[in-house]
């Protein structure tokens, strides 16, 4: 299969997943339901001022849904499009011949990186890069979220509950385990 066809298939799958999630969300909204949501200001992975701590992965380990209903989402408008993204690379790994870290950060290889805009074929450091999270691979472990937040990054990656995956438990098992009380139940109209 050509790379182009593979990318098209991936894009189609992503669009269908987003549409399904959006449809489910609208149905819940129409029925006046409440949904669970991650509060980025409380989540230790994205909360500003928390540095030098390991990423919390309770959203992965506690959710009753396979892989978790929580996924990392990159808000492109806030993303710095860095050459060396600390959410993509393990920035403390050895530097390779391209002058980049030799290891990726994501244990599931769920983030793709591609140059955008005017591309310098001679020097990869001259380029902007787009970072795309494959939500079918992401399990919401929060490692990239922890590395993206300020001051190391710009805080463009946060954890979000995907409503096409969330089964909306009466007592969310992540919420029960979260020491930061970062999962809140909100009326659909107030949710992201």
């Amino acid at each position: 299969m050509s790379e182009d066809l593979t990318r098209r298939g991936f894009a189609r799958g992503t669009v269908l997943a987003v549409l399904a999630g959006g449809a489910a969300f609208l149905v819940k909204k129409a029925n006046g339901q409440v949904v669970w949501q991650v509060n980025a200001a409380r989540c230790i992975n994205s909360r500003l001022g928390e540095v030098g701590v390991e990423a919390c992965n309770l959203c992965t380990t506690e959710c009753v849904v396979a892989l978790s209903a929580v996924r990392a989402v990159n808000e492109y408008a806030k993303c710095g499009r860095c050459n060396i993204c600390p959410a993509y690379f393990n920035i403390t790994s050895a530097v390779n011949e391209l002058g980049q870290p030799s290891e990726k950060l994501c244990p599931r290889d769920a983030i793709a990186r591609k140059p955008i805009g005017k591309v310098d074929p001679e020097d990869p450091a001259n380029n902007f890069y787009e970072y795309i999270i494959d939500e079918e691979k992401c399990d919401g472990c929060g490692k990239c979220v922890m590395k993206c937040k300020e001051p190391l990054g710009l805080g463009s990656i946060t954890l979000r509950i995907r409503y096409d995956k969330c089964v909306n438990c009466n007592r969310c098992s992540i919420a029960r385990a979260c020491p930061q009380n970062a999962l809140l139940q909100l009326p659909v109209g107030q949710a992201l």
Binding site: L48, G49, V51, G52, G80, R81, C82, N83, I84, C85, P86, I91, T92, S93, A94, V95, G99, Q100, P101, G117, K118, V119, D120, D123, A125, N126, N127, F128, E150, P151, L152, G153, L154
Partner: protein
């Protein structure tokens, strides 16, 4: 080569850019004001700017230039407003100001470029914009540069993990620096160094974790100034070096200026 932390100066409020004049007086931009400290670090006076000040620089004739959003304000040494250069397009957000023989340089973070003006504020050319491809990559939102004794402009290009050297006409001459998350000689993280100063050497600051380093002009690391005194969330730490080679660095979280001096054997 080693440095020791010798003083912490209370910034008297918000701090962004700092500069030191030929007499050792320290100028600090922050909030909507310029603050002055004498060579011993004692606060002496302040005066208002019409917009929040992001950068400050002192010309040889003693005129004080304040970089703001959409404008540069020029004051005399007593804080009297002498002139305002207003240009929303060329001076989108002025985060650094410097001087060359016949003109003034302004770092415009909104357009990721250094602007060159003559002494009357007439725009002459851009430096670092789209050179060689995408120009200054500043995810941190600050353009910072310094001018050496020969008139070369040393600009922090944090997205490339470099300090680039330009002529005043905008020609890229070369760079020092590379990414490395382990070797202290390299610049770490997504985007470092964020700020730069030049005197007899090149001085840089980095964020996450905050640190100050000293390089020679060939790019060889000479010293890592201790990182301990800084708040870990510091970023875009403005840096200035006085005639005694004392290094002044802004702690952006504690709103203080930390002073380091070389340790002589």
């Amino acid at each position: 080569m080693q440095y020791r932390h010798v003083q912490t100066i209370d910034g008297k409020g918000s701090l962004r850019g700092i500069a030191i004049d030929g007499h050792g007086q320290l100028y600090a931009a922050g909030d909507s004001e310029i603050k002055l400290f004498d060579a011993a670090g004692r606060f002496t006076r302040r005066w208002p700017t019409t917009r929040p000040a992001h950068a400050v620089a002192v010309a040889r004739d003693g005129a004080v230039y304040a970089g703001e959003i959409g404008q540069i304000e020029i004051f005399d040494g007593a804080g009297k407003l002498l002139n305002t250069w207003r240009d929303e397009k060329l001076l989108g957000r002025v985060t650094a100001i410097g001087f060359i023989k016949d003109g003034v340089l302004a770092g415009d973070a909104a357009d990721r470029a250094i602007r060159r003006f003559d002494r009357n504020g007439k725009f002459l050319n851009n430096i670092g914009k789209d050179n060689p491809v995408n120009g200054l990559l500043i995810p941190n939102g600050v353009v910072d540069f310094a001018v050496d004794a020969q008139g070369a402009i040393h600009a922090a290009n944090p997205g490339k993990h470099r300090v680039e050297r330009y002529t005043y006409t905008g020609q890229l001459l070369g760079h020092i620096g590379r990414f490395d998350g382990i070797d202290p000689a390299g610049f770490s993280g997504c985007c470092n160094p964020t700020n730069v100063a030049v005197r007899d050497r090149i001085y840089t600051t980095e964020k996450a974790g905050p640190r100050v380093k000293v390089y020679d002009f060939s790019g060889q690391l000479l010293a890592v100034i201790t990182t301990q005194p800084f708040h870990p969330n510091c970023k875009n730490m403005s840096i200035a070096v006085d005639s005694r080679n004392r290094v002044h660095v802004v702690d952006t979280e504690r709103q203080a200026i930390l002073v380091f001096e070389p340790v002589t054997a």
